[in-house]
């Protein structure tokens, strides 16, 4: 789960990370009032779940409250990578002597959280890694012991030669680690971590991603979810316990299991078609999930044919068949449907489908070819 910059900053502030004040506005007038309260030059920052906000024009300096209002008026409602900006963070502008990068991420290869720090902060860290890898230092943390002070100091001295600043950075990293563990994060980064002209070390931007598997045991973190910042179809899918990602093609896919879903999309492409989505109905399915899946897929005007590919293991194929019948009875389909199912209770499923005027095949390649042909306006093979 992604959370906004202002939410990540609140979490880090609560751990004691030094972060300049800031408030969220949803209207230009609110932005003006906040800027007036700070009484100094402010930065107005779009709050969306997308990187590259600055490059997209979503981060701007405002010297006066009136300017803050005008800028907020432009940023609010702006589209960044397909997402509409509904909130801006207004925060006093800081003078910057130097910028660094500090991040911690759950790394699959290390089977542990790994710190990554660089004195070359403020820009795309991927670029730093590619061009000047010597400017990045990594440190694996054993979660059974946590980040030790000496480890944090090693990282601190990699960033700053000055003892006071190295200590300040080390302390920030220990707090960042505490926030990472306490939130069930998979990523937490401060970029940039800056030194002010007075020599203070402060965090100017923060990003956190939460492991979805943590949300059940962390209701306070789960409550940070901002559904208005996500695509409506993806929200509906999640509420129905489906995994859905919208794509640009015209073959709507309903599959059980992520690997088979990806393989089905690949096969659609292989036979010359274009998948309209990734949709995984998951393991133990019930007919309601299938009804929700069909509602989401048919809401996409681009979809010209629907393809079901179900391999029943835990998933009972008769549940899927019942879902198809229920959904299409309530809302008759306007586009053709191709159903491939095999596995658990296949005989019952095929019978249910036949009695309701559907046909089903047991062969994945045949089904995909048919769906691709139908999406192109051709006849089924």
């Amino acid at each position: 789960m992604n959370i906004h910059e202002y939410q990540a900053k609140e979490i880090l502030r609560a751990q004691g990370v030094p972060i300049p004040p800031g408030e969220v506005a949803t209207t230009p007038e609110q932005a003006e009032a906040i800027a007036k309260k700070f009484g100094t030059t402010v930065v107005v920052k779009a709050q969306v779940h997308a990187g590259g906000r600055g490059k997209a024009g979503g981060v701007k300096l405002a010297r006066t409250p009136a300017e803050a209002r005008d800028i907020a008026g432009k940023i609010l409602g702006m589209q960044i990578k397909g997402l509409t900006v509904l909130r801006v963070l207004v925060t006093p502008a800081e003078e910057i002597a130097s910028e660094a990068y500090v991040g911690v991420i759950l790394d699959r290869a290390s089977k542990a959280p790994v710190f990554m720090v660089s004195p070359a902060g403020g820009i795309d860290i991927e670029e730093v890694a590619a061009k000047t890898p010597e400017k990045i230092r990594r440190l694996r943390v054993d979660t059974r012991y946590g980040l030790q002070t000496y480890q944090a100091m090693e990282l601190g001295f990699f960033l700053y030669a000055d003892l006071k600043q190295a200590r300040a950075a080390a302390s920030i990293m220990q707090k960042l680690y505490a926030a990472f563990m306490a939130s069930g994060a998979s990523l937490a980064e401060i970029n940039p971590l800056v030194v002010t002209p007075k020599g203070e070390v402060v965090a100017l931007d923060a990003k956190m991603v939460i492991d979805d598997n943590e949300l059940d045991r962390r209701p306070a973190i789960a409550a940070l979810r901002d559904e208005s910042a996500e695509a409506p179809s993806e929200v509906e899918a999640r509420n129905a316990s489906l995994t859905f990602i919208k794509l640009d093609g015209n073959v709507g896919c309903v599959v059980n299991g992520a690997g088979l879903a990806m393989a089905t999309m690949d096969l659609v492409k292989y036979y010359g078609g274009d998948p309209a989505n990734f949709l995984d109905i998951g393991g133990s399915s019930n007919p309601d999930k299938v009804v929700a899946a069909l509602r989401i897929i048919t809401a996409d005007q681009n979809v010209k044919a629907i393809l079901f590919n179900i391999f029943g293991g835990i998933t009972r194929t008769d549940d899927v068949a019942n879902g198809i019948v229920t959904a299409t009875r309530a809302n008759p389909l306007k586009v053709p449907i191709v159903i491939r199912l095999t596995g658990t209770n296949e005989d019952i499923a095929v019978k249910i489908l036949k009695e309701n005027g559907f046909s089903a095949s047991a062969d994945m390649d045949e089904a995909v070819k048919q769906a691709v042909a139908l999406a192109k306006g051709g006849k089924a093979a």
Binding site: A109, A112, R138, M181, P275
Partner: protein, 290 residues
Amino acid sequence: MSIFADNSTTVIVQGITGRDGSFHTRQMIEYGTRVVGGVTPGKGGQKFENTVPIFNTMRDAVAATGANTSVIYVPPMYAADAIMEAADAGIKFIVAITEGVPVLDMTRVAPFVHEKGARLLGANCPGIISPGQSKVGIIPGRICTPGNVGVVSRSGTLTYEVVYQLTRAGLGQSTCVGIGGDPINGTNFIDCLAAFEKDPNTSAVAMMGEIGGTDEQQAADFVKHHMTKPVVGFIAGQTAPPGRRMGHAGAIISGSAGTAAEKIAAFEAAGIGVARRPVDFVDLIRARLK
């Protein structure tokens, strides 16, 4: 022969009275797996369907049955504890089916299991089946048939698809292993490839990977330097859009973005046959068995 599970496998089911646990216990027994006990705290002393003894703890279950394997169906928030309990009780092969285990839990579990000298498969995996011998987990038994193809995969239903196509074509399997799709898991491709290389009854290996991470590239490197048996591979997600993974730092730490193209190139460089479609496994494996 086979890998990790065979006729000598004796299984304790952790979470035997739950919805999934009880259903799949029945399926495993039906398949012929030697299920010797189950654990559900508070139900110790009872019997599952009048046959399988239930214990309160893994320590009790292992002491009474001498089981060497466990399979876990407990809810995600209790899975880490269940895995550690099994390892501490002396279980040597732990299969965690549970989906949705917090990744941070696995950062503590993985080293613990390793230090106890146990092997963990999963979590979030379909388990393992050595056709005709033993099935530990949820892979449907009837799509498998005994033979000499080893199967290893990160995905559940895609594994079924490939196994089903192999079986339809008359290509039986020595063992089918689902290692699971979670970022941190107990057993990886290389562990399985090494075991298949040593297993006298495995003549070729089918390997199904996915986009993300670098496990497949490392597996390809292993095949190139340490395997004499032929391997055929597939990568799911060749058409998946980028940017649906963790942030930039993940890609950098793993040293790559983990795209399908990159993984397929690694396969080709290692002499691994590349299946473009699941059905291609049949011809590619058949050609290599001749």
